[in-house]
């Protein structure tokens, strides 16, 4: 009797239907195939045709189904009925909810529109929400960039007209050496993983510079376990070594950067600025003539070594500075924790990969001076960096240092190096400047956010006080291109610079993981004046889930989940482009909500109609768009240019063209996205490549070609320095002069992160990392992901582990100058010896997220945020300095210094907060 294998159907039907849309579990925005069985989502997989993820998904994306069915989903609009923070709500109708919102917002707009502060978290519709805020007329709008990574974005744009992540990417196909600074996960989640897979597959070298060796740093071929906050020193030491050996790309520097520009040496208001001709064009000395010439004149060969009437080139300034012994490997080894010979080794690896094995593409291209190059020669060394550099108070200058290094070896926009993604490259001059002119019943005088070029662009009132509630674009942080969301609640609570009336928040868990100093933020949100009024009188919040923040709002506008609404991932803000193509995408309701919830963007359109905001209603006050879908299709930012580039006009035009009512259907048919490929000859050297410049004008990315030089020398910074030295009408307050002079260096510098001031009492660095399988706070409501990361031990390096005699299962009390936590610890050897760390945002407040109050996330999980303060400890000068980058205002999460001691295990992680009542019914016990 032989064994009969059971009959097996190896071709079962997979699903009834596949609907293609865009993932939302992070800002990577991968394409997904949503399978439906009997009208319900049955399985989600990656869309193979999608430019971002090419079929793959990460752990979050692949478990999106748990997000759509999460018991924590809000079900209907909520009105607060008990004290704020008590979690007492009643469900109300949308009519009532919108009525309340209008009754608050309308009188405000008629009297003091600036008293509405509208801040949106990791908003994927910023071009829309900012448009709304502008139409409303408040200067107080920004998204989360200020507490996230503005250092990276701003340093990139000010230096080279584009930045890492969404604005650019390594040339994964051709790089031979890839150096990654301070990245655990990043927004470009799947592309980085795909890219690292490609590099590994080709046998290219991957190097990780990170105090912690997990994830990408774990697979890296070599690891530099740097001391936090010292990357700038390491990078400038690499620059030192490369300069000393002459291993830099002189031709590239001369042609494409401001290295040959002349630095005005004459004392006066122009000192340290670059010489220009009468038309404002940068001047260089042409080698052919030895005479000054505008940088972009046909045939000019700029001379790096020139001097002109006492003015030397930027190149000479920078070479002299970085050749100094201050930057010798021996001089930085101690501070960075990287031995001198390791620094030398890295420098030599970079030089070897860049110059001994260049990548040469047989593609002709013509530059902006009219010169045609027979081939494209590239330096196959790619760098990438993120918050490890960005989230320190010296992050802006450190990021600039890294860009300097990339540019010195000629690896930006060359094959094998770093490549921009449309709409970048785009020099800072091509961005708007910040606007803050507000008046009752009037739209703001221009976009809120932008790039400051000098003191004149600051957002100051006539009396010199900050015009914005977050004090963005002030002397404290002049180049705060993304605003300072982390300062909104503290400033509004303090009434500094002024009081506000209504705080409108969208998808930001500000009473928990996205705030520093969480406990006091909760107090600020519930604090009252003497008359019993809340210090922040009204809070409207849109969330899709029962997050910690819900309890602190007066009115909740429940959003849909990502599969239930329209969305637009637009070239007007942060599209999904790749280095060789422009691309944008949509989300569309692949299933209908089963609750009384509405897409927040559609709610904003509705509110705009009720408030009759210009841009949303026509001359007669009639609504132009019923909902967000109609806005996406109908809105035009400039004539012919709207939120989506694909299928414009009659459906044949890409980029420019009249609105096409059929546009969304075409997107749906195409899998939810549109792609416009960049012609081969336009794929590299984009800032200077005529073919690219023309293509980008055709596509509507810009209206005229805008070639420019990379700014190794940053004039905007120098202008602030000049102001600090007393030049100009707009003058900084006295207490900031010295700091501005120090940090606003036109060449990249390193200075000690402000957190170091905590001193010897707090000798240990404390960091967080993003887990790849968890997205901030909202991964924990996902039944699958929370099994992977249900607790977050504090990892301690061997030295600290042994010194304190820790054993598995022990707990520690960790204190910073401003707080203390008691948490479980674990040992990790692959870690910088003076650094401890944990996964970010695993800790949960009891009662939130429809989790059992005894959930491990709420009893053992913890936040490091309690240790981090938005202000530095008092220095005795009577001032409170903010714990931010002094240039951009970026929150310095990673400046944190702590001290650690072993303690007996408490019942639960400390601090523990009382539970909040859940605004949703209890979750079912088992699944399915």
């Amino acid at each position: 009797m032989g064994f009969q294998e059971p009959k097996l159907d190896t071709s079962p039907p997979v699903s009834d239907e596949v609907r293609k849309t865009t993932c939302y579990m992070c800002a990577c925005r991968c394409g997904i195939d949503v399978h439906l069985k009997s009208g319900r989502v049955s399985y989600i997989e990656g869309n193979r045709d999608h430019p971002v993820n090419k079929g793959v998904l990460c752990a979050k994306g692949a478990s999106g189904i748990m997000q759509v069915t999460a018991p924590s989903r809000l079900r209907a609009p909520l009105k607060r009925v008990g004290p704020r923070g008590s979690g007492a709500f009643e469900e109300i109708s949308w009519d009532e909810a919108l009525g309340i919102a209008v009754s608050w917002l309308k009188p405000l707009r008629e009297t003091a529109p600036e008293k509405l502060a509208f801040f949106t978290g990791r908003d994927q519709s910023q071009s829309f929400t900012s448009f709304w805020a502008q139409a409303y007329g408040t200067p107080n709008y920004a998204a989360h960039g200020g507490f996230c990574s503005v250092n990276m974005a701003a340093a990139g744009i000010y230096t080279m007209g584009g930045a890492f992540w969404e604005f650019g990417q390594p040339d994964w196909e051709r790089a031979k050496l890839f150096v990654l600074f301070g990245v655990a996960e990043d927004h470009d989640s799947n592309p980085i993983k795909i890219g690292i897979g490609k590099l590994k597959g080709r046998g290219a070298r991957v190097i990780g510079v990170n105090p912690i060796r997990t994830g990408y740093n774990g697979v890296a071929d070599d690891w530099y376990g740097i001391t936090p906050g010292t990357d700038g020193l390491l990078i400038l030491s690499l620059v030192h070594e490369l300069l000393k050996a002459g291993r830099i790309d002189l031709d590239y520097l001369a042609r494409f950067t401001n290295a040959p520009c002349l630095v005005d040496a004459a004392e006066g208001p122009g000192r340290g600025l670059l010489l220009r001709d009468g038309d404002g064009k940068l001047l260089v000395i042409d080698k052919a003539t030895g005479k000054p010439a505008p940088f972009d004149r046909t045939g000019v060969r700029p001379d790096l070594g020139a001097t002109h009437e006492g003015a030397r080139t930027v190149f000479q300034h920078l070479a002299e500075r970085y050749l100094s012994d201050e930057y010798a490997p021996e001089a930085v080894a101690g501070r960075t924790g990287i031995p001198a010979d390791r620094i030398r080794g890295l420098a030599s690896e970079i030089a070897h990969a860049a110059f001994d094995a260049p990548v040469v593409l047989d593609r002709e291209w013509t530059d902006f001076r009219g010169e045609t190059h027979a081939e494209m020669v590239g330096r196959p060394v790619a760098f990438h960096a993120m918050r490890g550099i960005s989230a320190h108070s010296n992050g802006f200058q450190t990021a600039r240092a890294l860009h300097l290094l990339q540019i010195l070896i000629g690896s930006v926009e060359t094959p094998g190096g770093f490549r921009f993604k449309p709409p970048y490259p785009k020099p800072p001059e091509a961005h708007p400047r910040p606007h803050c002119g507000f008046n009752p019943n009037t739209p703001l005088d221009g976009p809120h956010l932008g790039f400051v070029h000098g003191p004149d662009d600051l957002a100051l009132k006539a009396d010199g006080s900050p015009a914005r509630i977050d004090k963005a674009f002030t002397w404290e942080n002049p180049l705060s291109a993304h605003g300072l969301m982390h300062m909104v609640i503290p400033n509004a609570h303090a009434g500094d610079p002024y009081r506000i009336d209504t705080l409108l928040l969208y998808m930001a868990n500000m009473s928990w993981n996205s705030s520093m100093n969480t406990a006091s933020v909760m107090e600020m949100l519930t604090d009252r004046d003497a008359d019993g009024e809340y210090r922040i009188p009204r809070i409207i919040y849109s969330d899709a889930y029962a997050s910690e923040m819900v309890a602190y709002a007066d009115l909740i506008l429940p959003d849909t989940t990502y599969l239930e609404r329209h969305d637009c991932i637009s070239l007007l803000d942060r599209p999904i482009c790749e280095a060789d193509a422009a691309a944008d995408a949509i989300r569309w309701p692949v299933v209908e909500p089963d609750r009384d919830v509405r897409g927040f963007q559609s709610v904003l359109v509705d509110l705009a109609n009720r408030l009759k905001l210009p841009g949303f209603v026509d001359e007669d006050g009639r609504a132009r768009y019923r909902d967000y879908a109609e806005y996406i299709v109908g809105h035009e930012r400039r004539p012919g240019v709207g939120p989506l580039m694909g299928w414009r006009g009659k459906g044949e035009e890409t980029g420019r063209g009249a609105p096409n009512p059929d546009q969304l259907r075409r997107y749906v048919e195409n899998g939810g996205f549109a792609v416009a490929h960049i012609p081969d000859a336009a794929q590299f050297f984009k800032p200077w490549n005529t073919a690219y410049q023309d293509w980008s004008v055709r596509l509507g990315l810009c209206d005229k070609p805008q070639p420019y030089l990379f700014a190794l020398w940053s004039e905007p910074l120098q202008r602030f320095r000049l102001a600090a030295e007393g030049h100009g009408d707009r003058q900084p307050p006295e207490h900031l002069r010295a700091r501005l002079t120090a940090v606003m260096d036109p060449l990249p510098i390193w200075y000690e992160p402000f957190g170091e001031a905590a001193g010897a009492d707090y000798p240990v660095h404390a960091l967080t990392q993003r887990p790849m399988a968890m997205y901030h706070s909202w991964g924990s409501q996902n039944a699958w992901l929370r099994q992977i990361h249900g607790v977050n031990p504090l990892y301690l390096p061997t030295r600290i582990w042994e010194e304190h005699g820790f054993a598995d299962g022990d707990w520690a009390r960790v204190s910073s100058p401003t707080g203390a936590i008691t948490v479980p610890v674990a040992h990790m050897a692959a870690l910088n010896g003076n650094t401890i760390w944990t996964w970010n945002a695993i800790g949960k407040r009891k009662g939130a997220w429809a989790l059992d109050p005894a959930a491990p996330e709420a009893t053992k999980g913890f936040l490091l945020n309690h240790l981090i303060h938005e202000l530095l400890p008092e220095r005795g000068d009577g001032l409170r300095w903010s714990s931010s980058d002094p240039i951009t205002g970026q929150a310095a999460w990673f400046d944190l210094r702590v001290r650690i001691e072993k303690v007996a295990a408490p019942d639960e992680a400390q601090p523990a907060f009382p539970p909040v009542p859940s605004p949703v019914p209890p979750a079912p016990r088992n699944r399915p």
């Binding site: 099994q787 992977i788 598995d808 692959a830």
Partner: protein, 300 residues
């Protein structure tokens, strides 16, 4: 391994039952009529109760009959056959005794052999597992047999034989404990062989696959404190073997005494069986950084 009560009760009771049945089958005691009904009843009762409890261990008890199909390869299947076989083969013998009669000796002999096979099959379910080195040894069937025989002897009132068997059981228990302690190391599996990493053995768990528990961690990774285990071993030997031995030696073999002796022995048997599971380490624990007496973190 997780010391699941259902499996402990099953193996102890059915072992004792088969032991008793075997003694009865071999005609160790001459009982007829109501006395036979009672004794055979106890034998059948223990066995059937044990088998019944074992069904609690199944995810799908309603399909239990399928377990009879794979006797050619599976010890569990063989055990099913042997148990059912023993119970069926002995039925006429038992019936005859209850009726006051007696069947020819080889009827009983065949039945007794079937009981033996059933006990060995049960033991082989564990002993065959290379994944649990402590079990994967001749001491496992020896132990199961020793328990079955001892229990059977006590229950069937064979005081002398029982006393001797108690001693033998004590010996096998101690041997099984001692030899068992070295088995995991002798099997040669380490985190290095499990992962192929850290050729010089310098590899350890950094983070568990899931911070939450799972079937494996609950079923196969059970850690008992070393001191706790040592105490329980002593208890097991004393109760299963030493006290019954002394009792049988000094007390008259009357029913209440034998019942008390059996009760003490049974207690020891339960403790020993609990340890049999609880001390056994499955190699999968290596992946979880969990070894008896070794370090290892329980995350949740």
């Amino acid at each position: 391994m997780h010391p699941a009560p259902s499996v402990i009760v099953f193996t102890v009771l059915s072992g004792a039952g088969f032991g008793l049945l075997a003694f009865l089958a071999l005609g160790a005691v001459e009982v007829y009529g109501p006395a036979a009904f009672l004794l055979w009843g106890v034998g059948y009762g223990l066995t059937v109760a044990g088998l019944f409890v074992s069904a609690f261990h199944l995810g799908n008890p309603s399909r239990a009959l399928r377990a009879f199909t794979q006797w050619r390869t599976s010890w569990l299947s063989r055990e099913a056959w042997a148990s059912a076989g023993a119970l069926l083969l002995l039925a006429p013998v038992a019936l005859a005794a209850v009726m006051g009669g007696r069947l020819p000796g080889h009827f009983g002999l065949v039945g007794a052999v079937a009981c033996l096979i059933a006990v060995v099959s049960t033991a082989m379910i564990y002993a065959q597992l290379k994944t649990v080195p402590r079990w994967n040894h001749w001491t496992t069937p020896a132990l199961f047999l020793a328990f079955a025989a001892t229990s059977g002897a006590i229950l069937s009132g064979q005081a002398r034989i029982a006393a001797l068997l108690c001693l033998a059981l004590g010996g096998v228990l101690i041997l099984a404990f001692r030899l068992g302690d070295g088995r995991f190391a002798a099997a040669g599996q380490t985190l290095t062989t499990a992962t192929g990493l850290g050729q010089d053995g310098r590899v350890r768990q950094f983070a568990p696959a899931h911070t939450g528990p799972n079937y494996l961690t609950r079923e196969m990774i059970h850690v008992v404190g070393r001191r706790h285990a040592m105490r329980l071993r002593v208890v097991a030997v004393i109760f299963a073997s030493l006290l019954p031995f002394l009792g049988l030696l000094v007390l008259p073999p009357v029913l209440p005494v034998m019942a008390a002796v059996f009760a003490v022995h049974l207690l020891g048997a339960f403790v020993a069986r609990w340890l049999f599971f609880a001390e056994a380490e499955h190699v999968v624990g290596l992946y979880y950084g969990q070894r008896q007496g070794g370090p290892g973190v329980r995350w949740v």
